[in-house]
Symmetry: C2
Subunit: 313 residues, 2 copies
């Protein structure tokens, strides 16, 4: 079976972004120190690098780059915003894997940060990656106009803090009844939608928003990108849940079936596999439709929607 041309182009672009993000994060997290820093202690730098280099598909940075390209943003700027976003994503994995959170030993086929180092180092490495994300966004290389950079800072803070990702993790823990005296809750479909929009969707939404902010877009363009993003964000989470139910641990790179075992609130749990698959297809169609105003230029983002929905890892 031949691979369609747009998919080939998508995969090679995804790979190219991953390569560039790897080398950018490697350079930004070099030994030595930036102006205003006192020193970069070896062990902490090693743990940050372990948590952020050498793995991952870099889907989020790809989405920044692909959206930014729609608006003619220089690739180097999109990569900086993508690197900042990836630091947030990686910090969240490190803290999520901690014994007090999901207690995972393996991640992407490697030991998790607290297994490779120790818990205290993992906590500090997560904190440092989170902090570093804002350092990256604030640099002139991200955009020459400080007003654009500060808009990115606000958007990333809101996407990743209490009103976004961290808040979503809190809702997730509550749904599992993980507090003293707490019991697993049966969430409604709308509660699950809020939980997942925060836990997973908000960071993805930042990817598209960052492309639009860097590009200085019109309100209509931003609306189209946001509609695409909202649909794809939910699709991403459903695909993730389906992988946990149906995926193979060796391919996925971490144990599967954990969500059900932990009583996690997922769409798949509420809807069942067949209806979740149907919803996934509808979301991909909605994402494609939102991109219509951009015509042929958006083919990469359309391919991304299919990739997200159909990925096996």
């Amino acid at each position: 079976m031949s691979i369609p041309l747009v998919e080939t182009s998508f995969l090679s672009t995804l790979g190219a972004v991953a390569t560039d993000i790897e080398s950018l994060l490697d350079r930004l997290q070099a030994q030595g120190r930036a102006e205003g820093e006192i020193a970069r202690p070896d062990r902490l730098l090693e743990a940050m690098r372990f948590a952020s280099l050498g793995g991952g598909k870099r889907v989020r940075p790809f989405l920044v780059v692909a959206t930014a390209a729609l608006f003619g943003v220089p690739r180097e700027r999109a990569l900086m915003a993508g690197a900042a976003l990836e630091c947030i994503h990686c910090y969240s994995l490190v803290h999520d894997d901690l014994p007090a959170m999901d207690n995972d030993d393996m991640r992407r086929g490697r030991p998790t940060a607290h297994k490779k180092f120790d818990e205290a180092t993992a906590i500090l490495a997560g904190d440092s990656l989170l902090t570093f994300a804002f350092d990256i966004l604030a640099r002139p290389e991200t955009h020459p106009d400080p007003a654009v950079r500060i808009e990115l800072v606000t958007a990333l803070a809101r996407a990743s803090g209490i009103g976004g990702m961290a808040g979503g993790q809190m809702l997730d823990l509550a749904a599992e009844g993980r507090f003293a005296g707490g019991k697993p809750q049966q969430l409604t479909e709308s509660e699950i939608a809020t939980l997942q929009a925060m836990k997973t969707g908000a960071l993805l939404q930042f990817a598209w928003l960052a492309g639009a902010i860097l590009g200085g877009t019109t309100a209509a363009q931003r609306k189209a990108v946001e509609d695409y993003g909202r649909a794809l964000g939910e699709a991403f989470q459903i695909a993730d849940d389906l992988l946990d139910v149906e995926g193979d641990a060796a391919t996925v790179g971490k144990p599967t079936g954990k969500d059900a075992a932990a009583g996690k609130a997922t769409f798949v749990g509420v809807l069942g596999v067949a209806r979740a698959r149907a919803r996934l297809a509808a979301l991909v169609a909605a994402a494609e439709k939102a991109l219509e105003p951009f015509g042929q230029q958006a083919s990469l983002l359309k391919a991304a929607a299919h990739f997200v929905a159909e990925r096996q890892t």
Copy 2:
């Protein structure tokens, strides 16, 4: 014994800043949500508020306000920067207190966040406060000029990340030999100076720097403020170490004697109490001298130096 006039003025200003910071952090961490946030989950908001309200002398925000006042900065702007700095300080206490870090049950006479809530909630509350600090700095209320706000973001990220506070915590854990197979290290005086400049000094240095950035100061003024800050930062840490050795647990609000028991690297441990006291006095004198160019206007900051050196809690 009568209290000198400047000290009265200092204490009332310190109190006034604490009141204003309390009400600002209360307002910023209200229910509801900011633009771009999806929701603020109750439990996480409650934990953030527990960790950042109702306690603390707010010394760091005071130093922002006092330095900013030297340069005619409107008080409301200095309070915003001070509130951001306090969020970083409070997050660091929450994460520091975790079982995998210092394992403290009490803080300011109250249970620590993970004791009051649970470990997972404490981790997320710390992450959220850290993220929120950058949200605060990025708001137009902090300064109308985005270039000033972005300079604050860079300065705070460098002061609190791997090259500042988080890096200092890493060095501190290493010095205690807290890793698998690690032994407590005998640090040299210069290694202790680096450790403490990062762990405690960097955030304090941000306080003075923020005042200078908000004020758009000349290089000479900024240098004077930095010299003051460097001396006072070290003084602050020595005073803290002396309190741990000599302080009374009920007054300090947490158990004392923990540093020595944990084999912590401190100046007092290396120099002994008498020489540490002499160094503290010399640092206060150096801090006062650095402020000479500002004359009478700097009396509040001079009083702050004495307060920091002589505090009993």
